[in-house]
Amino acid sequence: MTDPKPARTDAELGRTLADFSVPSEPGNERLAMETVAESAKGLGFSGENLERLKTAVAEATMNAMEHGNHYRPELPVELQVLVTDQDLLVRITDRGSGPPPKEEADAPDLLAKLEGVQTPRGWGLFLIKSMVDGMNITGDEGHHTVELVVHLEAEGGK
């Protein structure tokens, strides 16, 4: 993991709390999630709200490593943690090409999975959307970015 860079101020986006990257290797989503969690604690995130954020970051980082970077360790997943007056934003960028992933995340059909009609996998996007207030996906020729949005009002600890 590259060291988190010093906080900087961006007038348009708000304040950057962390800016770092992790190699695309299985298990590194925990490194990403713990680093983001350390930044969020300074905003008053704790308890279940912190756990939800951690799960969303871990799942989005896993998706970036797997689907965007195909677990090629030389391809980093970049993470930015930003805070505005209203929101905590976590931006997770991979080196994926082609159209960005779809944002739709209907609840997976557990019964179909139990009966072998569907693969047991496919929970990541659904978990992400269940854990945060919003999710935006953007992309260009060489990058996909997932932006997680958590309203600070909900934290009561901004």
Partner: protein, 118 residues
């Protein structure tokens, strides 16, 4: 950050096969989890209890592995139960609807008593 690979011990408790899970339930856990489940199934219990007391991380791949165990249990007409999940993972079991198909108990003792009485 080192991955805490899953270790599983299998024991019988009043006729219930208890799987004591210690570590992370992620993609690395597949072999250990399936081997432990097979060991438990070989004892031919009516009920298998997953004890999550030593688990501090479950990701979506881990959820898929648990779905796989639940599918096996249903196919062989066994009950699969869970206990000692943290509040956060109880929420995840609820939103994924896993808790609709496997009862979740706060601790092992409660799970064993409930399973013995049912």
């Amino acid at each position: 950050m080192d991955v805490r690979h899953l270790n599983v011990e299998v024991r019988l408790e009043e006729g219930i096969a208890v799987l004591d899970l210690v570590g992370e339930i992620n993609g690395f856990a597949e072999e250990a989890l399936n081997a432990a489940y097979a060991e438990a199934e070989a004892k031919d219990p009516q009920t298998i209890l997953l004890n999550f007391e030593g688990v501090d991380y479950i990701n979506s791949t881990g959820i898929a592995l648990i779905v796989g165990l639940l599918a096996k249990a249903r196919a062989s007409h066994r009950s699969l139960l869970a206990c000692n999940l943290s509040q956060h993972y109880v929420e995840i079991f609820n939103i994924t609807r896993l808790s609709d198909f496997m009862s979740v108990f706060p601790d092992e003792q409660t799970a064993v008593v409930e399973a013995s009485e049912s």
